[in-house]
């Protein structure tokens, strides 16, 4: 069986996937085909039977495991008692941690808003294991409100968390006291003190990096740096990966042997130390994989078993999946195992290469190639400079920075002074790197937008990549052909948006604000009307979170990227209110924008002026538009009805750009924040104006969507773009009344999340993210 235990992993993977994913039919067919192939490969029917048996067993286990993952709490609870299970994350005036409820086998996520700066330090010292009684409000986690968006509810569900609990410091009661607990909480407390110590001793720029590298805690890294790492494809260096575990155990082993301990004893010691290290390092899937594999290798070394590397990997895969089947869907888990498999199986290829340098280059290239389908699937973008950046930065991190951070961490316990000198220089070096990364990140960074790929695409990409690798290993020229097929699949995915003949209008849920995306068929033109924007109250600096809520960054850009949109022909800023243009700053920074339309009115707000200056600095043209301008693309016509040529100096809202669009025989009216006066004028000046689909003005406020206007334009459907539970209580009941009285069908982003209309083969369809 040596070298064949990967069959176990394959069966387990299929078992979990069929049990927990929503594509069970496709996966079953795939599993059976793979099993038929494998039993042919081994010329044994028994293999087929065993594979089916293991798959079915794992399938049942995953179902059972998932069935137990349910809540026993109800939404009526307003006080909870339990133990803190992780190191609380502090972010501005927010503190969050997981709480293991006593008596019930359930965890909830607690989020605290701190109102006094002095109270922060007590939260900083809140140790894992502490017992807390907290008053507050319980809520179900937020569901995804936009298409292709990150689903926070699912994310927490996979951590067995079904509720979020909100506590405002000072308003409700909360009391915590430390308790002496189990081994695991003892280790977590170590981790806690380590993380806090870095915050005290290490310079600002280094803190996040050091916490990430030593303890797998990423929350303290500056958001711009984190984005750059993510988008440029070097984020894995901030995760504790197999590389880190390898270096740490290698150095430890070496030290033990230097101390005169026999190799056998040293490997025994390491077998106990590594799991402890895994817990201290935050126990992320990549750490667990690396530690588990290392332990297998050490065990076999100690007891003189010969372990086939693929078997080691397969055991680790099987063990982790049995421990937690949800891990199969975890990006880090998938990447960690995919890349490890690729590097292990390419041993023959590496052996052929003569120099160490060539081997290292080949490792980098292979890791890029094999992770490509997964990166595109999960993140929708792929950076072309990821390869050169990795080739350069992986040695820097593993040879220079990681050992330095380790040494300085221990040194600062012994002699804070000496270590602070070194830390000073290290910080300077890191600052240079990070400035460099953010610089290339802001200047495009070779980032290609591929959009949301299908499971089929991922399957075929992997199939051809594996084929190419196998043929390359056999030195067959047909390897180039397989590689060409992989490349063609990549090109196909890149081009898919342009092959889509549907016309699509999406009302993106940006909370309180507007953001509407219009995609003409085959992306002949793509327009974005507004980009949302969260209005923030003035804050003291200690209250500021690392990442301010920004619907542009968190919602609009990810949505555009998930659609594979690379370029916007027009970005229409209806008027100078922050909830319309705020999110556009990131859109213009990250996307290729041809033209920005802004109403031709005097610009008075300094915020708007800064925004428009930034637009010009990015090299994007601005056109100041008014009534009477129009354009057509194919059969689709757009004309601007507002603002008037001569502004009457009414409010900003009344000067909103109003667009009347006629696409595939449907008339749309996008009114921005136009209010009563403007609507009155439209009725007067455009006696023939009729509309099928109306974007209700000003988020459904009472001052817009007046009865005479609605009666005049006679819409079939109206969309109200407002935030869930917004503080203006939009939409106003009167507006709803008016629309209902005129038999207008209402869609609301505050209730239905994103709303998407599309035209496909002569028919119009509408889909909402949340069905009510």
């Amino acid at each position: 069986m040596r070298g064949h235990y990967y069959l176990l992993a394959v069966a387990a993977g299929f078992g979990v996937a069929i049990a927990l994913s929503s594509h069970e039919l496709c996966l079953t067919v795939l599993a059976v085909s793979v099993f038929v192939y494998l039993s042919y490969k081994y010329r044994s029917k028994l293999t087929f039977g065993l594979l089916i048996l293991v798959t079915f067993g794992v399938f049942l286990w995953a179902l059972f495991y998932d069935g137990r993952n349910e809540t026993v709490l109800s939404d009526e609870i307003d006080i909870v008692q339990g133990n803190v299970t992780d190191v609380p994350v502090l972010d501005g005036d927010r503190v969050s941690f997981l709480l293991q409820l006593q008596e019930r086998k359930e965890r909830i996520r607690v989020s605290v808003r701190v109102t006094e700066e002095e109270a922060l330090s007590s939260f900083r010292n809140l140790k894992p294991g502490s017992e807390c009684i907290i008053e507050g409000e319980i809520q179900p986690p937020l569901d995804a409100r936009n298409f292709n968006a990150f689903n926070y509810r699912e994310y927490l569900y996979e951590q067995h968390v079904h509720w979020t609990f909100h506590h405002v410091q000072g308003e409700n009661d909360m009391s915590c006291h430390a308790v002496s607990g189990t081994v695991s909480s003892f280790l977590k407390q170590w981790r806690h003190s380590g993380i806090r110590m870095i915050e005290e001793v290490f310079p600002q720029e280094l803190q996040g990096l050091a916490q990430a590298m030593l303890f797998g805690e990423r929350s303290n890294i500056e958001s711009d740096t984190l984005d750059a790492y993510q988008d440029l494809g070097i984020i894995h260096l901030l995760a504790i990966s197999g590389l880190h575990v390898g270096i740490v155990s290698g150095v430890f082993f070496f030290l033990l042997i230097r101390m005169g301990i026999s190799r056998e004893r040293a490997s025994e010691i390491l077998m106990f130390v590594l799991p402890v290290y895994a817990l201290l390092a935050g126990a992320a899937p990549s750490v667990l994989r690396a530690v588990l594999m290392s332990c297998f290798v050490l065990f076999c070394f100690r007891f003189r078993f010969r372990l086939h590397p693929v078997d080691g990997l397969s055991f680790a895969f099987f063990a982790l999946l049995m421990y937690n089947p949800y891990l199969l869907f975890h990006v880090g888990f998938q990447l960690s195992f995919t890349i490890s498999t690729a590097l292990i199986c390419s041993a023959t290829i590496f052996k052929r290469l003569k120099t160490r340098l060539r081997q290292f280059l080949m490792v980098s290239i292979l890791a890029q190639v094999i992770s490509f389908p997964l990166i595109v699937y999960h993140f929708h973008t792929y950076s072309l400079i990821s390869l050169p950046l990795n080739i350069f930065y992986v040695p820097v991190i593993s040879i220079l920075i990681l050992p330095m951070v380790w040494i300085l961490f221990f040194l600062s316990m012994l002699s804070p002074f000496i270590s602070s000198i070194w830390l000073f220089f290290l910080e300077k070096a890191i600052r240079v790197f990070h400035t460099f990364f953010t610089f290339i990140h802001q200047n495009h960074g070779g980032i290609l937008t591929f959009g949301q790929a299908s499971g089929y695409w991922v399957f075929f990409s992997f199939l051809f990549i594996l084929l190419a690798l196998m043929l390359f290993e056999k030195k067959q020229k047909t390897a180039a052909l397989a590689a060409a097929l992989v490349l063609m699949l990549a090109v196909y995915q890149y081009m898919t948006p342009y092959l889509d003949g549907r016309l699509r209008v999406t009302f993106i849920d940006v909370g309180q604000g507007d953001s509407i995306l219009i995609e003409l068929p085959y992306k002949r033109a793509v327009y974005l009307i507004d980009g949302g924007g969260t209005v923030m109250f003035p804050q003291e600096s200690w209250q500021e979170q690392r990442r301010e809520p920004d619907p542009g960054r968190q919602t609009v850009v990810p949505y555009l990227q998930s659609l594979g949109i690379k370029r916007l022909d027009k970005v229409i800023v209806t008027h100078g209110d922050y909830d319309h243009y705020g999110g556009l700053e990131v859109v213009i920074e990250k996307m290729n924008v041809d033209l920005v339309l802004y109403p031709r009115v005097p610009i008075e707000k300094p915020g708007v002026e800064t925004f428009l200056r930034n637009v010009i600095d990015q090299g994007t043209r601005i056109e100041f538009v008014h009534e009477g301008m129009q354009w057509t693309v194919d059969e689709h016509a757009f004309r601007i009805l507002n603002p008037e040529q001569e502004s009457r100096g009414l409010s900003d809202n009344e000067d909103s750009i109003v667009i009347d669009a006629n696409v595939y025989g449907k008339k749309w009216l996008f009114t921005g924040d136009l209010e009563e006066e403007g609507e009155k004028r439209l009725v007067q000046d455009y006696p023939e104006l009729r509309t099928d689909i109306l974007k209700a003005g000003h988020h459904g406020s009472q001052s817009s969507t007046t009865a005479p206007f609605v009666q005049h334009i006679q819409p079939e459907v109206s969309i109200i773009s407002a935030g869930e539970n917004n503080r203006f209580n939009h939409p106003h009941p009167d507006v709803i009344d008016t629309l209902e009285r005129e038999n207008v069908h209402i869609f609301r982003t505050d209730r239905q999340g994103a709303i998407r209309f599309y035209h496909h083969e002569q028919e119009w369809y509408v889909e909402t993210m949340i069905s009510d």
Binding site: R2, H4, K41, R306, V310, C345, A347, T348, L466, M470
Partner: protein, 233 residues
């Protein structure tokens, strides 16, 4: 899923080293990497007639000389060998042939089939026979065992009448001079009708044996005679 071992060095096949081929391919491996690396596989450019490695594909000097002789010209259309005869292969073939490790023949199965399909589809394989005495001594005909691997079944169209002294100990001149006719056509179904015959043997040294075997076949109606051999010395 029993453990497989290298047929030559007997090391376990799924050893310390992983590979894509082992993981994905259906191929049955029977040699380990280091043993299989020791083969010197023949491929073009080579001599059009005897597969001797050349810098460009044409006729080699030896084959030119064959063509000029009166007795031997036109007997053998083409010979192709799988491997160049090196120390490694010599040891392998002698283990197989003289020490009777018949399982080793498996090693040649894949390349033999590939070459047959690539160069000799449609031909009728005929193993070069052994004399009765030699067969008795060895217990099997090494050429027949190899011919079994081909996708079409072979025909025993020849019989070896004369028990020559062991070829592998004679010199080139000895063999070239031997104007004896050791092979006799032997077919129950009568003479051939223009078929392309493919002689199967283990080693091509000078090509004399193969040419001697081709003679009776051509005399009995074969259209052309070629040969496929394991080693080319």
């Amino acid at each position: 899923m029993k453990q497989n071992y290298c047929l030559r060095c007997l090391e376990p096949l799924e050893g310390a080293q992983a590979s894509w081929t082992a993981l994905l391919s259906c191929e049955k491996k029977n040699l380990c990497e280091s043993c299989s690396d020791k083969f010197h596989r023949l491929a073009p450019p080579w001599c059009l007639h005897c597969a001797r490695p050349l810098s460009c594909t044409e006729s080699c000097g030896d084959c030119e000389r064959w063509a000029k002789t009166r007795h031997w010209s036109g007997l053998l259309t083409r010979n192709i060998s799988l491997f160049s005869y090196n120390d490694f292969l010599q040891e392998l073939i002698s283990t197989y042939k003289y020490r009777g490790d018949i399982a080793l023949a498996e090693v040649f199965k894949e390349p033999l089939r590939n070459f047959y399909q690539q160069y000799f589809t449609g031909t009728t394989p005929v193993p070069v026979p052994l004399s009765k005495e030699r067969l008795q001594e060895r217990g099997f005909n090494q050429a027949e065992v190899i011919a079994e691997f081909l996708p079409v079944s072979y025909k025993p169209l020849l019989v070896r009448d004369i028990h020559e002294k062991k070829q592998s100990k004679g010199s080139r001149q000895d063999r070239l001079r031997g104007h004896v006719r050791p092979f006799v056509f032997n077919n129950h179904t009568g003479p051939l009708t223009g078929q392309h015959i493919l002689l199967i043997d283990d080693i091509y040294t000078t090509g004399t044996t193969l040419r001697k075997a081709a003679l009776p076949l051509l005399e009995n109606g074969a259209g052309r005679v070629s040969s496929l051999t394991i080693a080319r010395s």
